[in-house]
């Protein structure tokens, strides 16, 4: 157990702090479901220039080109969330696709896509889920049929976050209809402006249109825009999902949310009395702090495994479940702590914090479902973590 930082890391942390002190007031966060605007893009450019975004992406693809150092990555996340400053753009393209491209993309793909994605100019959406393929993602039916140098794509995606704002999609399609279901899938990258794409926004419970249905009719995608080998899309998708789960279970963000919650409780009244006078609410706050501190320590443990390249076993499998649940509970307590005022929506002048807590509750409930539902996480923990019997194969598969 050695929790001291090396002199290099201490210096690096100091540099981040100085950067934040100097430029922090220029920071602009991205609103969920929306494209980055000029201010967010300018902030991202500043981060890229100083190596606080795209730090480990090679120079030739528009990154900063620093040698990979996971501790530096953690310090960036930690320092920005401690200062409550948005650490640049963290959309699906940057957090999930870029690492996958770096791992499995062709030279051409890396050159075409990584730099504009990092700059926030090229926005991606993730086209995995379909009406009949959610948890059972490998049951997806969107077809990609070879036609000369192209694949012709037909079918439908759903729950596609930010599709209405996106320039590009990374999309799973079935190219080998007769192969076993995990082996017939390919991973295509194409433009959302291509002819034959129809996007229909779906509102979520927060009232915002954050995700969409996306329909494909004879969309032509050049073969060179396939990421990974034909029929190997399942493996590529799993690489992306690893990055997604790491990105969803982030204890630095949780710490920031917890700090906001505890501020709210300290400073406000509930039904005419200081919230802090409620023993019951204080107890719930402390229960959440127990979970938060456990997760912070747990993160350090997992970080050490990543640095050494060792398998954390069950300790790694529980984080999505535990982290998203804790985040959701923070939102629920923030609403409960407000009493009846917690009922107001963002249009009411008396609403607290702009109505953000209900939006977060809705969003964080979505995170419990998205990226592998809580129940699927439990299957994984039981089967891979505890060695319990695998789910039985489905008997009567339709279609």
């Amino acid at each position: 157990m050695d929790l001291t930082l090396s002199p290099n890391h201490i210096a690096f942390r100091q540099a981040i702090r100085e950067f934040i002190a100097l430029y922090g007031d220029r920071a602009e966060g991205v609103i969920p479901g929306q494209r980055p605007g000029p201010k967010q893009i300018a902030w991202q450019a500043l981060l890229l220039e100083h190596g606080y975004a795209g730090r480990f992406v090679p120079l030739e693809y528009g990154g900063y080109g620093a040698p990979y150092d996971i501790m530096e990555q953690r310090l960036i996340v930690e320092e920005f969330s401690r200062a409550a400053i948005p650490a640049g753009i963290g959309n699906q393209g940057i957090s999930m696709l870029v690492p996958t491209l770096l791992e499995l993309g062709t030279e051409q793909q890396k050159r075409d896509y990584i730099a504009p994605t990092l700059r926030g100019e090229m926005v991606w959406c993730q086209g995995y889920s379909e009406p009949n393929a959610g948890s059972d993602l490998a049951a997806l039916q969107t077809r990609g049929v070879e036609d000369g140098e192209n694949f012709i794509v037909n079918g439908q995606k759903i729950w596609t976050s930010t599709a209405h704002e996106a320039d590009m999609i990374f999309c799973l399609v079935r190219t080998e209809p007769h192969a076993p279901k995990h082996e017939g899938i390919s991973y295509l990258l194409f433009s959302m402006d291509d002819p034959g794409i129809d996007i229909r926004p779906l509102k979520t419970m927060s009232g915002r249109a954050e995700f969409n249905e996306v329909f494909f009719t004879d969309v032509r995608v050049p073969r060179i825009q396939m990421l990974g080998e034909r029929g190997d899309g399942w493996r590529v998708a799993n690489a992306t999902l690893q990055h997604e789960r790491a990105y969803l279970a982030n204890s630095a963000l949780l710490s920031q949310r917890y700090a906001e919650l505890s501020q709210l409780i300290k400073e406000n009244q509930r039904n005419g009395q200081a919230i802090t006078t409620s023993q019951a609410l204080q107890e719930r706050l402390m229960q959440l702090q127990s979970r938060l501190l456990a997760l912070k320590c747990h993160d350090l443990r997992l970080l050490t495994h990543s640095m050494k390249g060792t398998d954390p076993g069950i300790a790694g499998l529980i984080t999505k479940l535990y982290g998203t649940e804790t985040r959701y509970q923070v939102d629920v307590l923030a609403l409960d702590a407000q009493g009846e005022l917690g009922l107001l929506n963002q249009s009411d002048p008396r609403v607290r914090d702009g109505g953000v807590w209900f939006e977060r509750e809705a969003m964080d409930l979505g995170l419990i479902i998205g990226g592998g539902t809580a129940q699927i996480q439990k299957n994984i923990i039981a089967e891979r973590g505890l060695g319990m019997p695998r789910e039985p194969k489905p008997v009567n598969k339709e279609g």
């Binding site: 535990y322 089967e383 505890l386 319990m388």
Partner: protein
């Protein structure tokens, strides 16, 4: 930065685990509990050979001088084995009290003896945390004690006791005049406690005890209890998983029913972040004095509550046999229950955490 156990720490934990697994089974555990024995004799002798009573004691008194993290790893194994042994009271709390608040002579006399495994010292402390529940609580006048204290740890075979009274600590020898004890009848039989009565009993003051050192003792207690519950809870998870792999119903292993798998996954997910928390709290005990109280509070609270849920779900996975005396799973459930309430409840721990931050 490295948040992991060292090779030596892993070896220490493995050796304690292996020794206890070989020696402690449900039959011998039952024998201890039924006969109100406060220690599992063969397990304790082996612990002495492994140097466990010497673990925290500085080298100058014949100890090994290790830290709270090693002590917590051993505690985890104690909980896993559920073995009655004078660990929490004597090896941890009395040892730390003597180390940090005793006079040179007291340290020389008692720490050397304890480190060698030649004696143990009971610990009477709960009133400071849990308040008075007797009409005549212990009070001190001119170096003599009068009154009653409850839930004394490791008291049965002790050669002396450390007794908390008015934010001070007093050492009382077991053969001192006017001292009597009565065993308490507790639900958990794996860590028996007793009631001590003092009647003009002579006592020596531990000269350096003060509020801070007493707070630090409470931190130690909570970290060790949390670690103990971590071990006991994982033992109950492992048992549930193993049983689910052999028991069949409806022509299937019950472990293939998703309801059962999810119970097991929930147990693991609820408890495992607690391991990281215990490691950190124990590390902070020796290395981060500003943080230790907060982390000790949360370790106690989280492992108590998660442990309690694990105890219940593990029994549920077993079905009817889970609740039987025969299977013995209840020993671990009761141990977790005792760790949860003794020396303060999760609620008390949360309140202390809250006060610590305001």
């Amino acid at each position: 930065m490295e948040f992991a156990l060292s090779e030596d720490q892993i070896m220490l934990q493995d050796s304690v685990r292996n020794a206890l697994t070989d020696l402690v089974d449900v039959a011998s555990l039952r024998d201890c509990v039924d006969n109100q024995r406060s220690r599992h004799e063969s397990a304790w002798q082996t612990m002495v050979q492994l140097g466990i009573p010497a673990l925290l004691v500085p080298e100058q008194y014949g100890g090994i001088g290790l830290s709270m993290l090693e002590a917590a790893l051993v505690a985890e194994e104690m909980g896993r084995a559920c073995a009655p042994s004078p660990y929490l009271g004597s090896c941890i709390l009395s040892t730390l009290a003597l180390m940090h608040t005793g006079s040179a002579a007291q340290k020389q006399q008692w720490l050397s003896m304890m480190a060698a495994g030649n004696g143990t010292v009971g610990f009477a402390f709960t009133e400071l945390v849990s308040g008075y529940r007797v009409t005549q609580p212990v009070h001190q006048q001119n170096g003599t004690l009068n009154g009653t204290t409850l839930f004394v740890l490791d008291g049965r075979e002790a050669d002396a006791y450390i007794v908390a009274c008015d934010q001070q600590l007093w050492l009382v020898e077991a053969n001192a005049s006017g001292l009597t004890f009565t065993p308490q009848h507790t639900i958990d039989g794996s860590r028996p406690t007793l009631e001590l009565n003092f009647n003009n009993t002579p006592a020596q003051c531990l000269p350096d005890a003060n509020r801070t050192s007493i707070e630090q003792l409470l931190n130690a207690a909570w970290i060790i209890q949390a670690a103990d519950s971590l071990g006991a809870a994982w033992k109950m998870i492992d048992d549930a998983v193993a049983y689910a792999q052999v028991r069949r119903q409806f022509g299937r292993l019950i472990g293939s029913f998703q309801a059962v798998k999810h119970l097991c996954a929930e147990m693991a997910a609820d408890i495992e972040p607690g391991r990281s928390l215990v490691w950190y709290a124990a590390h902070a005990f020796d290395n981060a004095p500003d943080e230790v109280t907060l982390y000790a509070c949360h370790a106690k609270a989280l492992l108590s509550d998660a442990g309690h849920i694990v105890a219940r779900k593990s029994i549920e996975v077993h079905g009817g046999i889970g609740i039987t005396d025969d299977l013995g799973l209840h020993y671990w459930a009761k141990r977790i229950g005792q760790n949860r309430m003794l020396l303060g409840s999760p609620h008390d721990a949360h309140q202390r955490a809250m006060q610590h931050q305001t």
